[in-house]
């Protein structure tokens, strides 16, 4: 009986641990952390062996990109509606040659709609053929920019006029496909190549018509 008095019994211990409003205690955080670590490891392993798993690529941001952003270029000037010409170029020393993103004009959604209505340019869908099949801007040609060697020779015969304006687009945001396609076309001798910044998501939201299938 005396030992019982000194040492708390199991029931007493339980009652202590059942006291409400004991948050945030260490035990809760430890449990949550355990579940988090367990599910993360399980998820990554499962994904590695799962047939429909996706590629887990993690690219840490490069420090000199941040430095480039600090030294901002002068704002782009809108010369005609929707067509932005980059302002005077400030040369920053760069450690490695990167895609010359600044030199390809960007076109806003308004500018794209304007051109679509007037049929004054050719659209170029730089996404995968499957995505192109699911939906694209009516009349757009497909040039999947991850496979330029194969696709570029197929597209160039369809664009005989090198002076015609070509607007490339992809998923919008920070997708590089349209940039790659535009750069390849410019290198192939096309003089008026632009990029539709908003890309497919913006077009879909705009309510303009969408074409489906493999043909433009």
């Amino acid at each position: 009986m005396e030992t019982m008095a000194i040492k708390p019994s199991k029931t007493e211990l339980k009652q202590v641990s059942e006291t409400p409003f004991n948050f945030p205690d260490r035990e809760t955080l430890r449990q949550a952390w355990n579940i988090f670590v367990f599910s993360s490891i399980f998820a990554v392993l499962f994904n590695a062996f799962y047939s429909d798993g996706i590629e887990l690529k993690f690219t840490p941001p490069k420090p000199f990109h941040i430095m480039d952003r600090l030294k901002q270029d002068p704002p782009a000037v809108e010369t005609s509606p929707g067509w932005k010409t980059p302002g005077p170029k400030v040369v920053h020393p760069r450690p490695a040659p990167t895609l010359a993103a600044d030199q390809i004009p960007r076109v806003s959604l308004m500018g794209v709609e304007n051109r679509f209505d007037k049929k004054s340019c050719v659209f170029l869908d730089a996404r995968k053929p499957e995505e192109y099949k699911e939906g694209h801007i009516p009349g757009a040609l497909n040039l999947f920019a991850n496979d330029l060697d194969k696709n570029l020779p197929l597209v160039i015969p369809q664009l005989p006029d090198r002076g015609r304006e070509i607007i490339a687009y992809c998923h919008g945001g920070d997708c590089d496909l349209s940039l790659l396609a535009a750069k390849a076309l410019r290198d192939a001798g096309y003089t008026k190549v632009g990029i539709f910044d908003g890309g497919w998501p913006d077009w879909k939201k705009s309510g303009y018509p969408i074409a489906k299938g493999e043909t433009p």
Partner: protein, 185 residues
């Protein structure tokens, strides 16, 4: 009727809100079914509801990380692109295991903490999207559901958060595997 149909239904939210209100009444109001036991029953139901919610929400995303990754890049684009695949793979499994923990009552308090954390993150994400006018399917329960994100979705998530919080700070209910939460009286 599929599990998602029931979970996606507004009835579940009303049930959760009802249970929450009932808990408040039992806790701060008059005793019911002999006081504490009634409270424990409600807490058990709340815990199971939270577990069912999380598990049900994860099921559709577990099998198709590519689709979920696409949905994240379209609708929740404040998540940096470098973290996108990792999020698409880890979050559904986190939901799943936290949900199973809540259902089984094993490490349920930690799981309830995760539930609250996830709900806070989801609410912030929805708020961000609503503020930026991103018209998107929220992908909360089913990625292809036609339900668009709205203030109702946000209110629902905050309701879920309230449920999870009550479970988190509660002393626990019946039918839990954890020793510290088993019924001993």
């Amino acid at each position: 009727m599929k599990l998602e149909d029931i979970l996606n239904d507004k009835t579940l939210t009303f049930a959760g809100a009802g249970l929450t209100a009932f808990w408040c009444w039992v806790r701060f109001g008059q005793p019911f079914f002999g006081g504490k036991n009634g409270e424990k029953a409600v807490l058990t139901l709340l815990r199971l509801a939270c577990g069912l919610l999380l598990t049900g929400a994860s099921l559709d995303k577990l099998g198709d990380p590519a689709h979920f990754s696409k949905l994240i890049s379209q609708c929740y684009d404040f998540i940096p692109a470098s973290l996108n695949p990792l999020t698409a793979v880890v979050v559904p499994w986190l939901e799943f295991f936290a949900g199973v923990s809540l259902l089984l009552g094993r490490k349920w308090r930690g799981a309830a903490f995760l539930f609250c954390g996830l709900m806070v993150l989801y609410s912030l994400a929805i708020l961000w999207d609503l503020n930026h006018g991103i018209d998107c399917n929220c992908g909360c329960f089913k990625m292809d559901s036609p339900e668009k994100m709205s203030w109702w979705t946000l209110a629902r998530d905050i309701g879920f958060l309230a449920m999870g919080f009550i479970v988190l700070v509660s002393p626990g209910g019946y039918a839990a595997l954890d020793r510290s939460t088993s019924l001993n009286s």
